[in-house]
């Protein structure tokens, strides 16, 4: 069994990414298209929310990805700081750009959903506020990348920021919970009781759940494809600048 660290070799990573990328892309497109079309056209309207419930197929997966991408960045940043594999930190950088867009999508679709349901675009609800703070963390992370010229210094500093930021993001989440009670419902899609069937009351109905699951898988695949693409581009960019520097020297 090949070790995962083999992919720390940029050449090996690029090769694998190039081989896998078309498949992941096509799979993501198919899953997303199926999930969204199924969700939008072949599910009944919710008896209270009407057709606005269908925004769930974008809102929930985007929100899920926004958090998970930060978690992935935390892991890859740690790998960079401990084992100093360049691919790892470049993947974190690529993931951050995707993550900031996912956070924005979750916020905007949430506002669009909140307007007819709660009668307001925005409330200072804990979940909404935490997402806004997460958005700020993403912005700070990306801004730090942009601000530093030397790539290794930038990688080190952003990695430390990611780790410190994670701690403070979790802290903010609890602080915000303490600060204000909210309108947003609790987690009702993936609940331990709901999966095992012991808790049937508070769960999203299966009619909505299966297309939603498909959309979630689609978002994950889309994210994987984008990260592969962005990381490969970054590796190529590094190599180009290295070649240019060598040319100038000779």
């Amino acid at each position: 069994m090949a070790s995962i660290w083999e992919y720390a070799n940029p050449v090996k990573f690029s090769k694998t990414a190039s081989a896998v990328l078309p498949w992941v892309t096509v799979l993501a497109a198919v899953t997303l298209a199926t999930g969204l079309v199924w969700g939008f056209f072949f599910t009944p309207d919710d008896f209270r929310q009407g057709s606005t419930v269908k925004i769930i197929y974008i809102h929930v997966p985007a929100a899920m990805m926004a958090i998970n991408i930060w978690a992935m960045m935390l892991v890859t940043s740690l790998i960079w700081l401990i084992r100093r594999h360049h691919v790892s930190v470049l993947a974190a950088k690529g993931a951050a750009s995707v993550g900031v867009v996912m956070t924005l999508i979750a916020l905007i679709t949430g506002a669009v959903w909140g307007q007819p349901m709660w009668g307001t675009w925005w409330v200072w609800d804990p979940r909404l506020t935490s997402f806004l703070i997460l958005f700020l963390f993403y912005l700070g992370y990306l801004a730090l990348w942009e601000a530093i010229d030397d790539p290794d210094t930038a990688a080190d500093l952003t990695s430390v920021l990611c780790i410190v930021g994670s701690v403070f993001a979790i802290l903010s989440r609890y602080a915000v919970n303490f600060w204000n009670q909210g309108l947003h419902q609790g987690a009702s899609v993936m609940r331990a009781g709901a999966v095992t069937g012991t808790d049937t009351e508070e769960k999203v109905s299966n009619v909505f759940f299966y297309p939603l699951l498909l959309c979630m898988i689609g978002f994950v695949l889309l994210f994987v494809a984008l990260v592969f693409l962005r990381t490969r581009t970054e590796i190529h960019k590094r190599r180009t600048s290295a070649l240019l520097a060598r040319e100038r020297l000779s």
């Binding site: 703070i133 700020l136 700070g140 080190d156 403070f168 903010s172 303490f178």
Partner: protein
């Protein structure tokens, strides 16, 4: 370390050190608030704890880039880094000096500014207590931000973008403690949380600050 602390304090308090600038900024924020929201004393006393906390936070933020930038420019930081002092200790001393020159004066002056905003009577004790416990956290977190951006040409604005999200938990619990104190509600939970955050960042964040400072000095 004591020598470093006295040096920083002397530099800050003597002419050109910018001592009191943060305090003046705090005062101006407090004075501007009634102009923007109107002079009704009921409204002012409602928002007083929050405004005072926000003013203290912004005044603290304003002086962050002075913590390390000047020492970086004249090479003091390189000398200190090559000295036998551990860099973790150095950044802790830097944060302490920053707190003594900006945080502590604000804690002392806050009741006076509370008077301007018509802070309710029971609120003064809690305001001073919350600021006294909370502002060290602001200084320590700010030192981390300053260490992150010290090598950058235009680090000032970026520093705010990086540090402000990190200030969120401290601000929430600090302002909540002051507000609850002013309203006469139970104050134990925010008090404990605020103290926990402060002691936590004092214990852990200097390691991160020293780490990024080493990267920047490389």
């Amino acid at each position: 370390m004591i020598a470093l602390l006295t040096r920083d304090l002397k530099l800050a308090t003597r002419a050109g050190g910018g001592f009191g600038l943060g305090l003046a900024f705090f005062l101006i924020v407090v004075i501007l608030v009634p102009f923007s929201v109107g002079p009704e004393s009921g409204l002012l006393s409602d928002i007083a704890p929050g405004v005072l906390w926000l003013g203290a936070l912004l005044a603290c933020l304003l002086s962050l880039d002075r913590i390390l930038a000047l020492d970086w420019e004249d090479g003091t930081l390189d000398l200190v880094a090559t000295s036998p002092l551990p860099l973790e200790g150095v950044v802790t001393i830097k944060a302490l000096a920053h707190w003594l020159t900006t945080g502590l004066p604000m804690v002392i002056a806050a009741p006076l500014f509370g008077l301007l905003l018509n802070l309710p009577q029971p609120g003064y004790f809690w305001l001073v207590l919350s600021l006294a416990i909370g502002t060290p956290a602001l200084s320590v977190v700010g030192t981390f931000g300053a260490a992150l951006t010290v090598g950058l040409k235009r680090g000032g604005l970026l520093l705010s973008l990086l540090v402000l999200p990190l200030y969120v938990p401290t601000l929430i619990f600090g302002a909540e403690l002051a507000r609850r104190g002013a309203d006469g509600q139970a104050t134990t939970t925010p008090l404990l949380m605020l103290a926990g955050i402060t002691f936590g960042v004092i214990a852990l964040l200097p390691f991160a600050s020293a780490l990024v400072l080493r990267v920047n000095l490389r």
